[in-house]
């Protein structure tokens, strides 16, 4: 018992020691200006990637950074790549490692990397940390955190038009009578909600009576789960399978079903799916990440202010759809071009409040609170603004923050799980 007491006492002392060091104020960092110009020749980029080139989403980022760097004359050896970094403390360690290596701008590409990047950003105020798809740069109070997210909802809307044209063709020739669309989603999170709503509205602009069911996989990348979800949706009668998950699971499953006589077509994400589904794939919604990377790096090199949020859609060539598949309906290209032109000149808004209802009613207001919550969601972590997102007859997506925040559950879409 005495020994136990001794151990406990020692432990107490250690904890007291720990507490003491906590109360002493940390020595302030040199007040380095995060916007201090770094000449292009001196720039050293760190890249933290959740996957590698074998995974579509990460591949798009790799290509984006490579292209942006090449356009800016940044050499290969100025970029440090870190592949397959999980969204755990490993990400923080990797960010610190890159910082210690002398990188002056560090990117990460998965949403879950963000909190670890922010922690590193706190410690290295002279280095810019860019967690792509993140949502706290504007509210976390650190000058050196930057978020980037293209207007993916625009390319999803356009890919929805491609799907809508196909659905219309199938209905016109009598092959399909029930305009049911399926969607394989990763998580019921705003980014996904925004994406599938835009996709659905694209379809609805061609086939007004279309309705959609969404099956979540609880994973951003899982071949089997996505394949199973696609099969489940097809079994329910879905003739179009859209997706917001990163693997080729769904298109492959649709291709196999199509070969066996089921009428079903796939709209992919990130990468051209024609390789895995030459007959079933119609197109894929894509992001042109190089545009955002180019803009950020250029601003950084030129010593301009690196603002907190970087976004852009068709007007900046930051989003696109992949080449149309052979199965696409006649006239698809024209419909696509018209939609893109409309989005570019501002006559077409994806989240036009005239095109959807919530609970049977038109929506006229949505005040979004950009604050984020703490670990147990009991209190606010970072205080953000409350902004009215619906003005001029449409929901302003990705304008007040690059990460999507459209979260209305519109009529016509059913979540299956």
């Amino acid at each position: 018992m005495k020994k136990l007491l001794a151990i406990l006492l020692v432990l107490c002392m250690v904890m007291a020691f720990a507490a003491c060091t906590k109360t002493t104020d940390p020595v302030p960092e040199d007040p380095a200006n995060p916007e201090e110009p770094v000449a292009g020749a001196d720039i050293k980029i760190g890249v933290i990637l959740v996957g590698d080139e074998n995974e579509g989403y990460t591949y798009a980022h790799i290509e984006g950074i490579k292209k942006a760097a090449a356009d800016l004359g940044i050499k290969d050896d100025q970029i440090n790549w870190k592949y397959v970094i999980p969204e755990t403390s490993v990400c923080y360690d990797t960010a610190v490692e890159l910082a210690e290596m002398g990188c002056n701008i560090i990117f990460s590409n998965s949403f879950g990397h963000q909190s670890f990047m922010v922690q590193a950003a706190e410690e290295y105020p002279e280095i810019i940390f860019c967690p792509a798809t993140g949502d706290t740069a504007n509210v976390c109070g650190l000058a050196n955190v930057v978020n980037l997210f293209p207007h993916t909802y625009e390319s999803r809307y356009v890919s929805g038009i491609v799907a809508g044209m196909k659905l219309k063709e199938l209905m016109d020739n009598g092959t399909v009578t029930d305009p049911l669309v399926g969607y394989v989603g990763a998580f019921p999170y705003a980014e996904v909600v925004s994406g599938y709503t835009a996709f659905y509205l694209g379809i609805k602009s061609i086939v007004p009576e279309a309705y959609m069911e969404v099956q979540f996989t609880s994973s951003w990348f899982d071949l089997n789960k996505e394949s199973e979800a696609a099969k489940a949706l097809m079994a329910r009668g879905c003739v179009i399978i859209g997706q917001h998950a990163d693997s080729t699971g769904a298109p492959s499953a649709v291709e196999a079903a199509l070969a066996n006589g089921t009428i079903a077509y796939s709209v992919g994400y990130n990468i051209d799916m024609l390789n895995v589904a030459p007959n079933a794939a119609l197109t894929s919604a894509q992001n042109n990440w190089s545009k955002l990377y180019y803009d950020i790096l250029k601003a950084f090199i030129n010593g301009e202010e690196v603002k907190h949020d970087w976004s852009g859609g068709y007007d900046e060539d930051a989003v696109m759809i992949s080449a149309l598949g052979a199965s696409c309906a006649a006239g698809t290209q024209e419909a696509v071009d018209a939609a893109i032109a409309g989005i570019k000149d501002g006559t077409l808004h994806v989240f036009d409040t005239n095109t959807f209802t919530v609970g049977g009613e038109a929506v006229t207001t949505r005040v979004f609170d950009f604050s984020t919550m703490n670990a147990d969601y009991s209190a606010v972590q970072y205080v953000g603004e409350q902004i009215e997102c619906i003005t001029d007859g449409y929901f302003h997506e990705s304008e007040f923050r690059s990460a999507p925040y459209f979260d209305l559950a519109i009529d016509g879409i059913t979540k299956l799980n």
Binding site: V84, T88, S89
Partner: protein, 374 residues
């Protein structure tokens, strides 16, 4: 007199009766040197780079800056803590390969306290003590379950402790969506990133690693003394040598097994606390990240001498970090993370292999009368 060497086997292996301390370490050092030569060949073959420069990069990658040095201290502390925790179990020949799970439940307990008690406004010391106790208890419980089963039902502890790892992992998967932060990430994220409540120290650069090292060194010294000088430590040694002897000496084997495994699990649980409160501030599958298994190598190589474990843990963490540094420095020269892992593997292989030459003598019979002893 003529001996017919043809009937002799070319290689004859015999057990060494005893080996001098310096000789065994000479063999170990030779093994490390040899492994570095093999690695150098591999590096040169793959990249064409000067291997000595590459090794220099490795050292610089681990000790180059204060921050790197401190990360090395931090990771060494955690690995050492697990290895020290394994010592009583393995010394008693109880194959505890469940350190991974014991550490993970310790981490889960710490994270739970951090998340759910973090907003009650209690002093950080109190919260840290609660977290540490919760981790120690959780780890102890995780360790004692297979021990009780072994002691009273004679189940296989290797399988049981291994299976407990998977259960711990499932627990983590169960809690992850509950503690998910931010929503949609499906990860726990950094806990209390603004308030820093439940963090060992706000200073990640210096204070945290040193506090962790301090705690672990205390545990290391205590464990050394416990195993070497206490009656219970002696009982562990006897049970490890022969259970029959232990019974004959009126040692209650069941008690020893249960008691030692509780201690073993509790210290592994403490490692989970250190990882969560000190290094990570989150809980994930990387909290243990295979260190529960690497620690077995540390414990074995050190022959359960906790002071030797300090050296071995430091070496293994050095290799691991050096390999990562190497991969990031030379990723354009074919030296990727995978090559880095191969290098670590080669060095570990040689170190483990050297134990064979310490335990056994090898005689070569080459032709007439020639004898070489390795």
């Amino acid at each position: 007199m003529k001996i017919d060497h043809k009937k002799e086997p070319i290689i004859r292996i015999s057990k060494r009766v005893g080996i001098q301390f310096w000789k065994s370490w000479l063999i170990r050092l030779a093994a490390i040197a040899l492994s570095l030569c093999v690695c150098a060949l591999l590096i040169f073959a793959l990249s064409g780079l000067n291997p000595i420069k590459v090794f220099g990069t490795m050292a610089k990658g681990v000790f180059g800056t204060q921050r790197k040095l401190m990360n090395w201290v931090r990771d060494t502390s955690v690995l050492l803590c697990i290895a020290v925790g394994l010592a009583p179990a393995f010394k008693m020949r109880f194959w505890n390969i469940g350190a991974e799970g014991q550490m993970l439940v310790g981490g889960i307990a710490a994270a739970a306290c951090m998340i759910h008690l973090g907003n009650l406004g209690m002093p950080n010391v109190v919260l840290l003590l609660i977290m540490a106790s919760a981790s120690i208890i959780a780890g102890g419980v995780w360790g004692v379950i297979p021990a009780i089963s072994k002691a009273y039902l004679n189940t296989n502890e290797t399988l049981f402790t291994l299976m407990m790892n998977y259960i711990a992992m499932q627990f983590l998967l169960f809690f992850t969506p509950i503690w998910e932060h931010p929503a949609g990430s499906n990860k726990v994220g950094i806990i209390n990133s603004v308030t820093k409540v439940g963090w060992l120290s706000e200073d990640q650069k210096l204070a945290t690693p040193l506090i962790m090292l301090f705690i672990v060194l205390i545990v290391t010294v205590l464990m050394f003394a416990y195993l070497k000088y206490s009656k219970q430590g002696y009982e562990i040694a006897v049970v490890g040598e022969s259970q029959r002897t232990a019974k004959y000496a009126a040692i209650n084997v069941k008690n020893v097994v249960v008691r030692s495994m509780t201690i073993s699990g509790a210290i592994c649980g403490l490692a989970g606390f250190l990882s969560v409160a000190g290094a990570d501030h989150t809980i994930s599958e990387d909290t243990a990240g295979g260190r529960g298994f690497i620690a077995i190598i540390v414990a074995w190589l050190a022959k359960f001498n906790t002071f030797v474990m300090i050296l071995i843990a430091a070496l293994i963490v050095f290799l691991d970090k050096g390999a990562i540094a190497l991969a990031s420095e030379y990723s354009n020269y074919n030296l990727t993370n995978d090559v880095a892992d191969i290098i670590t593997g080669i060095i570990l292989f040689f170190i483990l292999g050297s134990e064979f030459f310490i335990n056994y003598k090898i005689k070569f019979h080459l032709g007439k009368g020639k004898e070489e002893i390795a």
